[in-house]
Symmetry: C2
Subunit: 257 residues, 2 copies
């Protein structure tokens, strides 16, 4: 269950710190001095990163975010930025830039193109962030089918794939929170599912990311995602409402595992 | 004092909504239906945006964020993403990608290059986000001199310049908050000034952005910045400490206006 994806990661087991210091320069996740912060040796991004910026910009050029008028590229740049800020490396940032290319633009053939251009590691992460392989994005399966399938597989993904996936979700939930603050419940009108299901999905993702094993690099990211999901739960009033839809969906998720 | 920077902006005067609907497709900032959300007509990004991505990536390639090991480009992508998410247009997003090029890489000559490549509007916004024009980034003036000068001019900048500047600060304060949560007060060790002054600077910026006039597009951005600054104030314990440094700095700022 605990797969080591991020080179140099430290897995946090319950009430126990498990330093795999032999694999990295980081000796312990407990900070005591300035030098002990999460700082790493700086490795400049290569021109491969520039190619992925152009690739993402060209593939998604004519697409906006859920008909908001916001260029889709904004989402991709935001997720890549989160990935680097929380300690992801260049290939993880490239995967972040390309994580929606397969789902929105060409399915499995696009995944093969990404593998050829950017290598198998990037393709593996993009694959692990994809919940639909329909070559025509308009022929996707229903929201519930896709999300249930994704929830069932995500805890089995390695740490670096869950890292990029969680960065994607952190960006999305922040956008929902911003929308909720300024437009109220209309924020959920953009989705293909009702409010209670959307929030249940994000809460379940937090649980599944954790269930897959929490590395020291994943922890701050999942904790921050958890915090924003909690704010959305409170602000949307979904916690004050009946817990029934939550319970029904969770039972269904567990029953088919 | 109220300069109209963002085409189609609605200025929010105290207790008064001032719709300049003749300038845009947005009829009113009060939401009632789905179509009334902040959604705008989608205008795809042009290849000029791609050029600015490459330009930013190349100029900042060998730079990391405050010696954290995080590629500087992460900050630039993050700010451009915030600008687009809160409703900025392509030229504002380009300015966001280039907003630190002048300060960190070449001073006024670099500003002229940006003007030639990306036009006067982009150059004006980049100029308005710059607090030092030293051609050698290592010969910048002291933190306090730069920040006092910036605070004194920022309220006079037009709305679109304050918009990009506020997006930059929102990104920065989020990074401080993340750092503060995981490294405690060590988060401030990265800065050239002590904790109380850093937090005072961000609080003063929120006040100055507002003092320059709040458009309907600036409001959500400044409100969110205000919220994150408040979280940093609470978490860092700076509010519980003596208010003296705050008062002294504010008196100095006002005295020389």
């Amino acid at each position: 269950m605990f797969s080591l994806g991020l080179c140099g990661d430290v897995f946090l087991l319950p009430r126990q710190l498990f330093p795999l210091s032999c694999l990295s320069g980081i000796s312990s996740p407990i900070m005591t001095t300035k030098a002990d912060c999460f700082d790493r040796k700086f490795i400049p991004l290569s021109t491969r990163f520039d190619h992925s910026l152009l690739f993402a910009s060209q593939v998604h050029r004519n697409q906006d975010r859920k008909k908001s008028g916001i260029p889709y590229v904004s989402h991709l740049l935001g997720v890549a930025s989160i990935v680097m800020d929380y300690g992801g490396d260049e290939e993880m940032a490239i995967a972040a830039l390309l994580h929606d290319a397969v789902e929105d633009h060409g399915g499995r053939p696009m995944l093969r193109v990404i593998e050829q251009l950017f290598g198998p590691r990037v393709a593996k992460i993009v694959d692990g962030c994809t919940d639909s392989y329909a070559e025509d994005a308009k022929k996707k399966e229903s929201w519930e089918t896709r999300k249930f399938r994704y929830l069932r597989r995500v805890r089995k993904e390695d740490a670096e794939t869950r890292f990029v996936s969680a960065a994607d979700k952190l960006y999305n939930v922040r956008a929902v929170l911003r929308d909720l603050r300024y437009n109220g419940d209309l924020a959920f009108a953009r989705f293909a599912a009702p409010k209670a299901k959307i929030i249940w999905y994000y809460r379940s993702l937090v649980n599944e990311y954790r269930a897959g094993g929490v590395t020291h690099r994943l922890k701050p990211l999942i904790d921050d995602l958890d915090r924003v999901v909690m704010e959305v739960e409170h602000l949307s009033g979904v916690l004050a409402a009946s817990p029934r839809p939550h319970r029904r969906l969770t039972t269904r998720l567990r029953s088919k595992r």
